[in-house]
Symmetry: C3
Subunit: 681 residues, 3 copies
């Protein structure tokens, strides 16, 4: 079967390659590079991410010659180019001419040149120069035959997520004016009657620099919103130039997995497709679970469309305190995992290992040791395998349950002076995701504005900040037959972070049929026993960090507290409403909400991708437009395992027919093509 047209770019099949930083090497090395790329099956390279100083040697000079030669060379060898706008690291001459573009910390320290990402997001000087560079690049290369993709900037939000300089302050005031309209409205929204914080005018407002004590929480929340928007404005400015000057060429920027600083729901609206930089830690035995979660998010950001793994490490990274390499087989397995969850390509940082600079110890497709190295052999071997998988390009997978993710609520949840500082979104989310992962239930992430109808089950690990519109939509979803499971400390505040009146969970009280009398955080290290009421013998769970004194109104009790001050009170409740039901967990089941989840899954009729999946095996299924299925089976464990197959098919990695079951070696994998006829009976 021929590779399907890749939906991301004009390059056929799955994408394979990495960041190519040829400015670090004499040009004679480039010839070896393209020869080896061909050997490895590389078909897309990212070029120019940090080339600003080379492209524009000073304010009035441009040097495109080397890049012309490079793109020509790539094109001659059949390698497409993801061309970066090169704006993430302004050159020294610009910084010294316009020092005010350097970012400033909350303590007032202006950060120095010498690293990267040294720019104030709100700096006109920086933005003008970045847009000028983008326009020059777009104009020069828009028609170059090697050009397959525009890569804007690099990892927005890495290193610098906020700036406290006067330019940022002015931009923050502009943003506040647009959001709040009048200073009276801002005073209301921020609750400035508290602690005598009333502002007479926008001019009196500054960023939340270091202050003597706790800062106004709505100011901090607006600051988080503003900082995401300020970076997005930069991105949109470059995107607008590319769309104008180089229409028809797709544009992306590399996201950083589940990053608190940037509201990727909003950001992804401005991407032609989503791409991600993912660096799971080989030293973490649970890294693949978190990776799956991030990949599910990336796929979900544009509603299930294929995405691109823009950067991963061939082996070790260099920025952790201790950087463990990938043991043999792990690189291949983890690369396949991205495909299993909807990626249409696997790119790397970087192609050839640097000999100097802050990332010289970061692994590369072509290591320091060169082609004799184990790393190079893995690069070539996986490139070969990837070509066998070309037909999956463009196929999609869809989750069997949805998880609500709302950056606004995340930001608000993690503000200071809350009942417990342990309530962090990732920590609340992970046990839920892990329990679903272990049960083989593929998950889509959805924003609060999403259509939920298609999902039998919706999970909301936390909805701290929740407006009544969303509450109404969740209620309607349940009334119409949906199953909603919601975690604790939800329905607390409105969009200004003001407490909803009438007791928690505010606008969700009727939906869940309960009222929270008081939050009851659990001290670090302690746990509270939670006992499932229906089970026999009563299953014992353990709440950590959080519990609540709740009273049921319409709801029934599913589990109760069985130790501590709340012993005997309800812990988990279910409220039947209309055709559906709404489950409320008043505690954080850090060690695993599995048993509660099992009840909800059963009620919702939502099941695993593949029944009887052995522990340690990850299974997902992509479908092509014609209905052909691609079953990914990944063995993350140290033992050989046998996985039963639903129907016979062909293992694309080996080209062999598979029926009944397949055997997976430790760290082994299979990608089984299942004919459309059997997939959609």
């Amino acid at each position: 079967m021929t590779p399907r047209r890749n939906h991301l770019t004009r390059v056929p099949g799955l994408l394979y390659g990495g960041d190519w930083n040829p400015e670090q090497w004499p040009e004679q090395v480039w010839a070896e590079d393209v020869k080896l790329m061909a050997e490895a099956g590389v078909n897309l390279v990212t070029v120019g991410v940090f080339s600003w100083a080379r492209l524009q040697p000073d304010a009035d000079s441009w040097d495109f010659g080397w890049l012309d030669r490079l793109l020509d060379l790539a094109h001659r060898h059949g390698i497409a180019v993801d061309l970066a706008t090169a704006t993430a690291s302004p050159p020294a001459w610009l910084v010294r001419a316009r020092p005010e573009l350097l970012p400033v910390t909350a303590d007032g320290v202006r950060l120095e040149f010498g690293s990267r990402q040294h720019y104030c997001p709100s700096s006109p000087a920086y933005r003008d120069a970045a847009v000028r560079l983008t326009r020059a690049l777009a104009a020069r290369y828009r028609h170059h035959p090697a050009l397959a993709l525009w890569h804007i900037h690099n990892e927005y939000g890495d290193h610098v997520q906020e700036c406290f300089c006067p330019a940022s302050a002015a931009d923050f005031r502009r943003w506040l004016r647009e959001r709040h309209g009048t200073i009276e409205e801002l005073n209301r929204s921020w609750g400035t009657a508290f602690w005598s914080q009333h502002y007479n005018s926008f001019e009196q407002i500054e960023p939340p620099r270091t202050a003597p004590g706790p800062v106004n929480p709505t100011q901090l929340l607006d600051w988080r919103r503003f900082c995401s928007d300020a970076l997005l404005d930069l991105h949109r400015a470059e995107k607008a130039v590319l769309d104008e000057v180089s229409p028809g060429v797709p544009v992306t920027t590399n996201f950083m997995s589940m990053l608190k600083a940037l509201d990727y729901w909003e950001w992804s609206r401005h991407e032609d497709f989503v791409s991600d930089d993912a660096y799971p830690d080989p030293a973490d035995p649970r890294a693949h679970v978190n990776a799956a979660m991030n990949y599910d998010l990336m796929r979900s950001l544009k509603g299930g469309r294929p995405w691109l793994l823009m950067e991963q490490a061939p082996s070790a990274v260099s920025w952790r305190p201790v950087n463990v390499p990938k043991r043999p087989g792990l690189y291949r397995l983890w690369s396949l995992q991205a495909l299993a969850r909807g990626a249409d390509g696997v790119l790397h940082f970087q192609w050839r290992a640097s000999v100097a600079g802050a990332e010289k110890f970061h692994s590369a497709m072509l290591p320091h040791r060169g082609t004799a190295s184990r790393g190079w052999q893995e690069t070539v071997r996986f490139g070969t395998e990837l070509r066998r998988l070309g037909e999956i390009a463009g196929s999609r997978l869809r989750g069997r349950a949805a998880v609500l993710l709302d950056w606004d609520s995340w930001w608000a949840l993690e503000l200071d002076d809350h009942p417990s500082a342990r309530m962090r979104w990732p920590d609340l989310l992970r046990p839920w995701y892990a329990a679903l992962y272990e049960r083989g239930v593929t998950v889509d992430f959805v924003p609060p504005t999403a259509e939920l109808d298609g999902y039998p089950l919706v999970l909301a690990p936390n909805l701290y900040l929740l407006d009544t519109v969303t509450a109404d939509r969740l209620t309607a979803y349940v009334r119409d037959g949906g199953r909603l499971v919601c975690g604790p400390f939800s329905g607390i505040t409105d969009r200004h972070d003001h407490i909803h009146p009438g007791g928690h969970p505010g606008p969700l009280r009727e939906l869940f049929g309960i009222v929270v009398d008081e939050h009851w955080p659990i001290p670090d290290g302690a746990t509270t026993v939670v006992r499932l009421d229906g089970a026999e013998p009563h299953t014992e769970l353990h709440a950590e960090h959080w519990s609540e004194w709740i009273e049921t109104e319409a709801a029934e009790t599913v589990a109760h507290y069985d130790s501590g001050a709340l012993a005997g009170l309800p812990a988990v409740t279910r409220n039947r409403l209309g055709a559906g039901s709404a489950w409320y967990l008043s505690c954080h089941l850090g060690a695993g909400p599995g048993p509660v989840l099992d009840l909800a899954l059963a009620e919702a009729g939502a099941g695993a991708e593949l029944p009887d999946l052995p522990a340690g095996v990850e299974a997902t299924r992509r479908h092509a437009d014609d209905g052909t299925g691609y079953l990914f089976l990944l063995n993350h464990g140290p033992h050989e395992l046998r996985v039963p197959l639903p129907t016979p098919g062909t293992d694309l990695l080996t080209g062999t027919e598979a029926a009944g079951a397949v055997t997976l070696a430790p760290l082994g994998a299979a990608v089984i093509r299942l004919p459309a006829a059997q997939e959609r009976p």
Copy 2:
């Protein structure tokens, strides 16, 4: 029996209420507030603590209308008002007009507006504005019938305890001139011959900003003294206005329990009575012991006069990392504990829970859930109980032992570059206090200048900095029959933090009849065995963090080291001098100095408030002027306990007669009125 006139204000009976911040609410809510206050028995509310921006919308405008209406409303409902001067949080317009009033850290960071307490203590701009506001409020409300009390500022020393700006530097130099007179005298006092630190003039002196290495310790000590004084000067400026404009109305400011930054002996001289903000942590099983200690200090600050618990939390606070609520019964028990140790009222932060701002998750008398909440029920129930206790207002209790507390010595003790950084005053004090608490011995705190005659036993957990006048007074106390027990690392330096000559403990050598050859700190985690010589079998204690190589001169050895480098040397000594005796502990018995204390208590004839007290029960006794006794019995434990009574009496909480013994439920309490005849036979 009718409630006695409260000694603190014109309000009869015990005070009950909290911070009322009505500027956070529309006026229609006020009407509900006063209705509910009446239901709960509230008779005093604190108003205006953070109202500056509302009272003075800009430099030239005043808005008193809302406060007029509020005070009228309170008065109509029989609720007295503790009116704040509102100066703790200067408004934005003032900060932007006079940015130099913002405080500056030791690193030179000027802290930003957006929180509270954002003022430099030495700023003329801030002080002038604060005094102007105070004068305006005093002039307007001095005759208002609701006004019962003036509340200056708020929690001096919270968030900002020091400022390093030029204005502070100038004020520090002024203070140094006043203290030292000449630069020659300052050079002598600071020992500037060391490390070439000589100053030619006061103009060369700056605050102890961040320096390359250890800073001159006497400079640091003078800085601590100055910082306490600088805040006190601010306080005195407001107090002077109130005394002048609104004579006859009592004035207080809310202290913050045992706070290192402020010398409360000096501060309390300027208070009409002492009030305290106390926030024991419900997650700490020993919190009630520390609370008792702080309450004893508050009572002691003005020589045993009743004090006011100005703020406590009805349940959880919101500023700890994990904020555990008060389980049922704990709020009542801990409230009674304040009364048991001399308070004449129990107020709260705050009346109605905020919906916005940095303290919206702080518990309130009226929680977010409203009157349906458990919290409101506890508020009403305790208000009812409190009315039954009205007659105890004005009664007093006096300690059976005294504990010396000297802020000057505390500051000096905790300077850097000492033999051990583990010698912190609170850590040294707590084991002693706990041992006395467990033995039922009520304690008064006394300053080094106090009359000690009335106490059979005086404890000095540490007297690092000690002038010869105090040493002489302690010696006279012992000669005249007193018993003094002193902890290690005492008598080390004079008031300039210069080592007393001739070997430690300097001016106490003769009193204790010993000499310290060398300090012998114990590494973290290690302990040294200390064995009591008289006991059979020899009681084994364990020294942590500190021991000393001492030699006895006139003293006898009470206990000796029995392990480590000092094995065989004396550890605890007693020196009989005149009619008394002086005990010296050369080590820190962190796990409890109880056995040594038992010997000293026996010798001093100082005993418990109530004999045969079951473990976990706290017992104190207040006496009215007519001799009537009020025996407080508080069960801090989880089990029902039976407590024998000395004489029959009436339990004021239940109105029932009690004889022989009373039974206390877990977290239960009794307040037994003991007739004067039986109390003073």
Copy 3:
């Protein structure tokens, strides 16, 4: 036998004394000082270290009278003077007149006066004033009969090792110009093609102030080099004045043991002899091993010439969090240890304990308690013993193995973004040194440029940064019959910190006959089993923090990994090359490389100073020019031990003859004079 002439100064015998800071005392105390010095046998005192403010009360005044009187007094009592240039702590008047001389942190905080060492190393204002003071002192005292030694400054690199002010920036640029010549060369060396860091001119370069992310590693490495040089320039400026004005008088400055900040190989070239400040921690049971290591370095810095212990503490210091004193006997033992490793004198900080200032709790030869104290008794007792050892002055000892130490490589090794942040030079070195120490093998440290021929064994715990010249020299050493043992992560980068091409260990590949495929850091807390192949049963070692995937080319495998991802691969290899052999350890054997070392020592024929040495006894041997041996035997353990003697001799400490064996009490010592005839048969 009469004391031999001390090689360091004109003072005969071993030097004994300490820092004398008489400006802290009234002059009448001086008379008592010199009387007590005579009693203690003090023959050299350090004067004036912090006297700048006293010597130069303001810009235009000098006050030498007190110092004249002091030096006359010392001379009259036969006490020689080590006269300090007093420049380490510029006085207040100078700081206020020239505030730009205060140092600035990487965050831009200008550090305040009030401590010491408050100067920017590159400040012309500071340097000019320091040179002026040095010249004034030199001119006045060059002929004073008490003057035995000049003491430049104090502890360069203490507190302030770097400054980020504009003057430092300018000096850094000057230094870079000198090092790199052109900006093109700097761009190449720094690898500025990475992350768009190209500089158009030196003017664009700033010090590595706090930046948003990782800073260019070569910039950081050059910064470390510059900072060591900037302080050395200061030192050389003072040295030049002394050499010019006061020729013939030896000059030194007090080093701070193995200090990362200063390249002491370079520094020691400018010393007339090496002196050291050493403060082993009595709370550390392994402190004496580290002390031995530091003393070996001090001896090695000038090729084995006697050195001076310029400062040690008689008992406790005051700058650790917990400062444990020296238990009885420890002071004597540790003082003898310095002599055992080549010191010709033992001086202290300080003579008389201060009563004020940041070091008042630092122990002194004359403690606060005065002559009644245990400390004073130890001072006098050891002074007496030291006189008995006078004849060892000038004798030398030479190591039986060499350890390579290269500051340049140390600095580069510890840069950020390496495979593991746990690879710190001291941590890599210590297990090797400890194993050698325990085997009684005395060690010399050598720079990479050293002649290695004389050593049968050379150890290189790490050679991360290694130029090809050094690699060639090491190879020649092995070819000529030497034995080289090298630790992991070696041969990685060249002098610009660029990766050597062709796979690690770069220019050492042929020497070791291996190639490193990939670094394989071990997570914290985990270990990997390493099994020695030749041993029976196979000895099991444990690698921590670091392992490597290596492949042998010419080398044979000495030990292999026996667990983890590398199980079965070689861990330790040996390559026979020419007449010698080269051992490569690919892992960090933190718990001790002893078994590997035993093999290498046996092969090299390098043995212990004394065979059959009981565990816990340190043995070294100094030799006078005439061949007389001095065998030091030091019992660091808590038990009495018996040590066999190689030949009969005289115990200089007791004056008794010793034959067969000597008995050492716990913390006991012997210094046996072995006649030259028997020493050199």
